[in-house]
């Protein structure tokens, strides 16, 4: 499986250059990120990792088009991003991103219907296919309030994938799930990637999740968010959690984020 995730050598799909993002709260003007550069290539599993306050969600909102940069440029396929659009489908952390008034099937169908990108029949077929892919065929006509958190997340991912966006934006999608479900979902995401080779920009604050999910990891430092490092995490997944490379990378990231003191956890992983 590790070999299958070889990254093809292509030019950048998403280019972020010198981007500073600011937002207003009722009392303050907050600088979330300062002059950030990175580029995401076709079929990357690009992870943005950082502690809270490093502006990683804000970066994702910038790429999503919800927030114009104060300086710098965000380009997708060479075109500047101006507003939200279905070429950059977003999967949020919260479960309430699904429309409670639509069934699983209708939720998946909705973006295809709204964007009119596919004909009615094709849209319906695609919706059914992608629902099957995430294993929810039995729950096709159920309303979201009757689903578990993990299932809702699967619907959200299915909905985003059905539209075949240029890039999938995921904002800590598994953070609100229990540990067992989270692990299953991570595996499912990886096996979906093995089948479809989509490009995904994934935000997380968990070092372990970043290494398991990502093929590239961008490490951000907080207050304001600045680039600390970009690392290669190709070929590391759940099976390699106990392996020395995994421990070394964990320790390296930890040092990048928190300075010299590395956690007991990383030590244990190295010993194991």
């Amino acid at each position: 499986m590790a070999d299958a995730r070889h990254r093809p050598m292509t030019s950048a799909l998403l280019e972020v250059k010198g981007v500073t993002l600011q937002y207003k709260t009722p009392r303050h003007l907050v600088t979330a990120t300062y002059q950030i550069d990175f580029s995401v290539h076709q079929s990357d599993r690009y992870v943005i990792l950082g502690p809270s306050g490093c502006g990683k969600t804000t970066v994702l909102k910038g790429v999503g088009g919800f927030m114009p940069p104060v300086e710098g440029s965000i380009r997708i396929n060479g075109r500047a991003i101006e507003s939200p659009g279905p070429d950059r489908m977003m999967v949020f952390q919260e479960f309430e991103q699904l429309m409670p008034w639509k069934t699983v099937y209708q939720n998946v169908l909705f973006p295809m219907k709204v964007t009119k990108r596919f004909g009615a029949k094709e849209a319906s077929e695609r919706a059914n296919a992608v629902i099957e892919k995430v294993g929810l065929t039995k729950f096709r006509d159920i309303y979201p309030h009757m689903l578990s958190g993990g299932m809702k997340m699967r619907v959200a991912i299915a909905r985003a994938m059905a539209l075949e966006p240029d890039i999938l934006l995921m904002d800590e999608p598994f953070a609100a799930l229990d540990a067992l479900t989270r692990r299953t979902m991570q595996q499912e995401l990886l096996s979906l990637w093995d089948q479809l080779r989509f490009t995904v920009l994934f935000v997380t604050h968990s070092i372990e999740e970043a290494i398991i999910i990502g093929s590239r990891i961008l490490v951000l430092s907080p207050h304001p968010g600045r680039v600390r490092a970009e690392l290669d995490a190709e070929g590391l997944d759940h099976n390699s959690v106990g392996r020395p490379e995994f421990g070394i990378l964990t320790k390296r990231i930890h040092t990048l984020l928190f300075g010299e003191k590395h956690p007991l956890r990383a030590q244990q992983e190295i010993r194991a």
């Binding site: 919800f66 507003s83 279905p86 950059r88 309430e96 991103q97 429309m99 008034w101 964007t115 309303y143």
Partner: protein
């Protein structure tokens, strides 16, 4: 993770154990359909009916004990008058007159509320305008505007429609605005993510997402409107040729025909119950209950 059982001093050892599963067939099927009696007891219609029957029994007993038809006619007497007036068409006529006026006023009120709320969600200034207007006019009883309405529009339907609009408009507009404001940010963003804007965004995301609140507004608006209408008819139903249900009650009171007054009140209550527990209940069951937005 220690293999040996931990044993603290002064405590008995706690051995690990594994047992064969006990026989569980005695409890029956894991999922068992409820019996008809159990389902009947849980049924909302049955529960409501029981409450109504109880009230009727208490009414009848009290009226018989009091034995004064002028002050408090019995349920039987009221029902006799009620069915007599239904049969000769008087009550139906009066009710239809009332409901027609109500429908016009309610519809106009909803249209105005929709316009006002759309303006209000479009900008912060609009929100301020709506919340100020609502704060001013919502506490103002519609009946207090009736004298003014009579000066402006004269005796007749336009005055009634005016006060009904007043009683519907603010309740619905306020609830809709609150509902729109309460739509979760994530849901808004996932709507904008697929490129929804303007009217399509309001229609496809905001309105369904705020529907519990909008529906509450519609219900309050309906109750206000019905109440206001009957009250207004009591005040000046006198001069209009085809009076409404308020006029029916007013006439009966002038004749000291208390049973007819009761039968008029019964009609008011009955229509209220039907609208609330049939029409609105059906809308709820098909929307907010189905979607899990409200229990």
């Amino acid at each position: 993770m220690n293999a040996e059982p931990s044993q603290k001093p002064g405590q008995a050892p706690r051995p690990e154990f594994e047992v064969d599963l006990i026989e569980a067939t005695a409890i029956g099927d894991v999922e068992r359909p409820l019996t008809i009696t159990e389902r009947l007891v849980n049924n909302e219609a049955v529960q409501r009916l029981t409450i109504l029957v109880t009230i009727v029994v208490i009414w009848e007993l009290y009226a018989r004990w009091l034995n004064n038809g002028l002050l408090f006619p019995s349920f039987g007497e009221t029902i006799r008058t009620f069915s007599k007036d239904i049969a000769n068409g008087v009550l139906i006529d009066r009710t239809i007159t009332s409901l027609r006026t109500l429908a016009i006023g309610y519809a106009l009120g909803l249209v105005l509320a929709a316009v006002l709320t759309t303006v209000a969600v479009a900008s912060t200034a609009g929100t301020r305008v709506l919340s100020t207007l609502t704060a001013m006019f919502n506490p103002l009883p519609a009946i207090a505007l009736l004298p003014l309405a009579l000066i402006w529009f004269g005796l007749g339907t336009p005055s009634l429609v005016f006060v009904i609009i007043h009683s519907v408009l603010w309740a619905v507009a306020l609830n809709t605005l609150i509902g729109f404001r309460g739509v979760p940010e994530t849901l808004r963003m996932s709507g904008r993510n697929v490129g929804l804007k303007g009217a399509r965004y309001v229609g496809l995301i905001l309105i369904p997402a705020a529907f519990p609140s909008i529906l509450a507004g519609l219900k309050i608006g309906w109750a206000f409107a019905w109440r206001t209408l009957v009250a207004a008819e009591l005040v000046f139903g006198v001069s209009s040729r085809s009076g409404g249900i308020g006029w029916y009650i007013f006439e009966a009171r002038n004749d000291l025909d208390t049973a007819t007054v009761f039968s008029g009140l019964l009609a008011v209550i009955f229509i209220g119950l039907v609208v609330e527990s049939v029409i609105f209940r059906a809308i709820e069951a098909r929307t907010v209950n189905l979607w899990g937005m409200q229990r």
